[in-house]
């Protein structure tokens, strides 16, 4: 019996069972370029609009971090390539990685593969079937996205090349995931290795483009090869050849590794954990459970602060190149300093809305603890409900405050050093003044999880409302009564001569009511599972 016996049967089984998991990735990767080509002509109808777009975005290194260099924003295809190549590749990559892991390592984890492995199938056939599924899925994703873009009005050559770039990224990641599935000993470990490898390449590409690093750094990165196809500008196909070659090499490596390992274990063995525990109470447990998110969010907010700080430091360039702003300034409706201060308030609100997300997440984690039955084990062992709830709520309020101040302080540092007319102290104070609004958003999640965990989705309402009203609201020209629903509308401008603090009192009052409602509700209601 060859090591690949039965691959065909396994593949048919896999397609039936896992094929549908590719659908969301295909839908997203198609919606992305299709929406670009449809929306672009409407938002930027004239040459002048497009020139302005190219000037503001082309000069913004923060955006370059994610999207890579903007080569030609004056045409619909050029804009589409800039907006979608990296993100569409990311979608294809995640689709492929999860598909391979799900069909290999996850099957071994649950022991389901044992049933199949004990049947008449070769040792490597489940890996082969998984790789074929991921390759085919990526190909379909690229083809649908490319064809869809052409149908929506994109240029044929550029759009198909863009789709091919998605597919090639998917192939590359199928290879990475196939290797990762041999290295990691659990599905989680395999996914982490593969996503980290891809994430590193993705970040390096963005950072090195933004820093305008020497050209060889692009060619040293497989994702750089995909970017160098340059759809709509150079329209090159050949950089995809080394991507595919690397994908095949990785798959070959995975098969060699598969032949050398035992069923159910990876090359990186799971380290045994502690036989004895140090955690003695519910607060220790809460900290432990949130440890991972605390580390990643802290790093994220250092990055957010740096990016937005960079953005704030270049505020004059952005304002100068904006025709509408120039007209307002010329009419004397405001002063440049006033605009900069307004801009700072907006940036702090953005950080605040972002910072409320991990707070809501902490409360949702508590909800998961309850739903999965771990809370019941804890409370029946003597953990008290009020203390457990207070611990979660406290962390949900404190961590976002810290994130807000990390991001805000970094922005303040950049703004002060760039001499744009805002002092370090004022900017930090502005960040601090934003914290109570963050608390209100989190307090809504505290109230929901305390009172009615069944409608947990409502916990996110605060984030959604704040984002819609505070970030999108001004462009919809909503009136103040509607805007005031968002707690961020009440954040005082600390640089004003006599800052109006009544808004803060309102915000604090609502926060207290929500927190109390959650605490009382959690004490009184039935615990579910």
């Amino acid at each position: 019996m060859s090591t690949l016996t039965g691959t065909g049967r396994l593949l048919r089984h896999l397609i039936r069972r896992d094929g549908r998991h590719f659908l969301p990735w295909i839908a997203l990767a198609t919606a992305l370029p299709v929406s670009s080509v449809i929306v672009y002509p409407q938002i930027f109808p004239t040459e002048q609009d497009r020139a302005t777009l190219a000037a503001t975005i082309g000069g913004n290194p923060a955006l370059g971090l994610i999207f890579g260099p903007a080569r030609d924003l004056g045409t619909v295809d050029g804009f589409n390539a800039w907006r979608c190549l990296a993100l569409g590749g990311l979608l294809a990559a995640l689709g492929a990685i999860f598909a391979v892991t799900r069909a290999t390592r996850a099957q071994e984890d649950t022991g389901r593969a044992e049933l199949l492995a004990s049947g008449a199938v070769g040792r490597s056939s489940s890996l082969a079937a998984a790789v074929v599924l991921a390759l085919a899925g990526s190909l379909v994703l690229g083809a649908v996205a490319g064809t869809g873009t052409v149908l929506a009005g994109g240029g044929a050559h550029a759009s198909i090349l863009l789709g091919a770039g998605f597919a090639a990224t998917g192939w590359l990641c199928a290879g990475i995931a196939a290797v990762a599935a041999q290295l990691g000993s659990t599905a989680r470990a395999a996914n982490s290795i593969a996503v980290a490898a891809f994430g590193l390449m993705f970040l390096l590409r963005g950072v090195l483009y933004s820093l305008e690093a020497p050209e060889w750094t692009t060619w040293a990165n497989p994702l750089g090869w995909v970017a160098e196809t340059q759809p709509a500008t150079l329209d090159r196909w050949w950089p995809l050849a080394p991507v595919l070659a690397l994908a095949l090499v990785l798959v070959a490596v995975a098969f060699v590794l598969r032949g050398r390992r035992d069923y159910g274990v990876g090359f990186i063995a799971i380290r045994p954990g502690r036989a004895r525990g140090r955690i003695r109470g519910s607060w220790g447990l809460i900290l432990r459970l949130n440890r991972g998110p605390i580390v990643t969010w802290t790093i994220s907010f250092i990055a957010v602060g740096a990016i937005l700080g960079h953005f704030a430091a270049s505020v004059h360039d952005i304002l100068d190149s904006n025709a509408a702003v120039q007209q307002i300034l010329a009419a004397g409706a405001t002063t440049p300093v006033g605009l900069v201060e307004e801009f700072l308030v907006t940036i702090m609100s953005m950080i605040g809305i972002l910072a409320s997300i991990p707070g809501v997440q902490t409360m949702m984690k508590m909800r998961t603890e309850e739903a999965e039955g771990r809370l019941e084990l804890l409370t029946t062992s003597g953990a008290t409900r009020p203390r457990y709830f207070a611990g979660n709520a406290l962390l949900a309020l404190a961590a976002p405050s810290a994130y807000m101040m990390i991001g805000g302080t970094l922005v303040a540092g950049f703004a002060a050093s760039a001499d744009i007319g805002v002092g370090f102290r004022d900017a930090v104070l502005q960040a601090a003044a934003t914290v109570p609004a963050v608390w209100t958003v989190v307090a809504l999640a505290v109230a929901v999880t305390g009172l009615r965990p069944g409608v947990g989705i409502l916990a996110w309402a605060g984030v959604l409302i704040s984002f819609t009203l505070t970030i999108l609201g001004p462009t919809f020209e909503l009136d103040d009564a509607a805007m005031a629903v968002s707690p961020f509308w009440h954040v005082p401008r600390v640089t004003a001569e006599s800052p109006d603090l009544t808004g803060l009192l309102w915000v604090a009052g609502v926060t207290l009511v929500l927190l109390a409602a959650g605490a009382v509700g959690f004490r009184r209601r039935d615990l579910g599972r």
Binding site: T186, G273, I279, L289, R374, T379, T380, L527
Partner: protein
């Protein structure tokens, strides 16, 4: 039995979830030092009752006392004096079994370190594995080690062995027996009839949110019929049919049932026909339960034994003696669709 001796006592307990009545007046009494089997089909309200006793959910009506306190109001103090093992144990995916045992033990505040080590050994548990690596059975072992290494007065066990292999099931029975010797009370909900049969001093059977039967296994057996299998020298005539039921004759071989208190009369009756071979089997638990679970009529539960009659503190182990010889079906009776798909969900 006076109320001081009762570790658990509920009167007229009711609880509804939306439109579904999970408990309809539950009266449950568990005396100190007992191992009390708590049985009933899925959806009968077992878990709901246990969750009220644990203070996880509030009852709608009736009273409940656990260790002399109100399970809802005195919840924290009670939780330090009891240990709970759910049937479907959920552990923290990133924490090891050892860490979980120590966390729960520290919360209870009565972890016995020597017993913890001994139980880990006996249950053959690897405490260095993480929650996400454990199988169902190993997760149960973590909860069992955590519970039984604590010096508590009451153990509430909700189908605690559904994932254990027979060897570990045996260890579990030993461990529960040792807890009783230390004077602890155990409320054991289980579908594994052999487990209940060998452990429980008393049983309560719940159906549709009410206790339909309570007593020792012997009490319950007396209300049902004993099976007789005999090989006779001469065929049976009609006269015998008044006493026997479910008569099945195949040549010389007879199988029938008789009321458990009239076995002697049946022997007298059969003797003249020349008994060449005989087995007399007390009703199996499985047949007992099917009888209770299966009765369709809402109020048609079998007559209850006199509740005033005190149960022996420690009855003779209820089992068929080897002389009777008939193999007794152990384990869960073959699921039959009607009795087991009883009203609604088990909350």
């Amino acid at each position: 039995m006076t109320s001081e001796e009762l570790v658990i006592e509920t009167r007229g307990l009711t609880k509804s979830f939306g439109g579904f009545q999970a408990l309809r007046g539950l009266d449950l009494a568990v005396g100190r030092g007992q191992i009390h089997g708590f049985l009933g089909p899925n959806g009968a309200g077992k878990s709901t009752a246990l969750r009220i006793l644990l203070g996880l959910i509030a009852s709608d009506g009736g009273t409940a006392r656990v260790l002399g306190g109100d399970p809802w109001r005195d919840v924290v103090e009670l939780h330090r004096r009891l240990a709970y093992v759910p049937g479907d144990v959920a552990l923290w995916p990133g924490m090891t079994g050892g860490e979980a045992i120590d966390l729960l033990g520290a919360l209870r505040g009565s972890a016995n370190q020597a017993r913890r080590a001994e139980l880990i050994e006996r249950f053959e548990l690897d405490p260095t594995k993480r929650g996400r690596q454990y199988s169902t059975g190993n997760r149960q072992k973590v909860a069992l080690v955590s519970a039984f290494s604590s010096d508590v007065e009451l153990f509430v066990l909700d189908e605690p062995t559904s994932g254990l292999d027979p060897l570990m099931e045996h260890v579990f029975q030993e461990v529960v027996g040792e807890a009783r010797e230390r004077g602890a009370t155990v409320l054991l909900s289980s579908h594994i009839l052999a487990e209940v049969e060998s452990l429980a001093d008393r049983l309560s059977i719940i159906r549709r949110g009410r206790i339909v039967e309570t007593g020792t296994l012997e009490d319950l057996r007396h209300q049902t019929r004993t099976e007789i299998h005999a090989t006779l020298a001469r065929p049976l005539d009609h006269r015998a049919r008044d006493l026997l039921a479910d008569v099945h004759l195949e040549g010389h071989r007879l199988s029938a049932t008789v009321a458990s208190d009239r076995v002697g009369e049946a022997m007298d009756l059969l003797a003249p026909y020349g008994i060449e071979g005989l087995t007399v089997a007390p009703p199996s638990l499985a047949s007992l339960f099917l009888r209770y679970y299966d009765s369709d009529a809402e109020e048609g539960s079998p007559a209850r034994p006199d509740p005033a009659q005190p149960a022996p503190a420690r009855p003779a182990p209820a089992q068929s003696s080897p002389a009777h010889g008939a193999p007794e079906p152990h384990g869960v009776p073959e699921p039959r669709s009607t009795p087991w798909s009883d009203a609604g969900r088990e909350a």
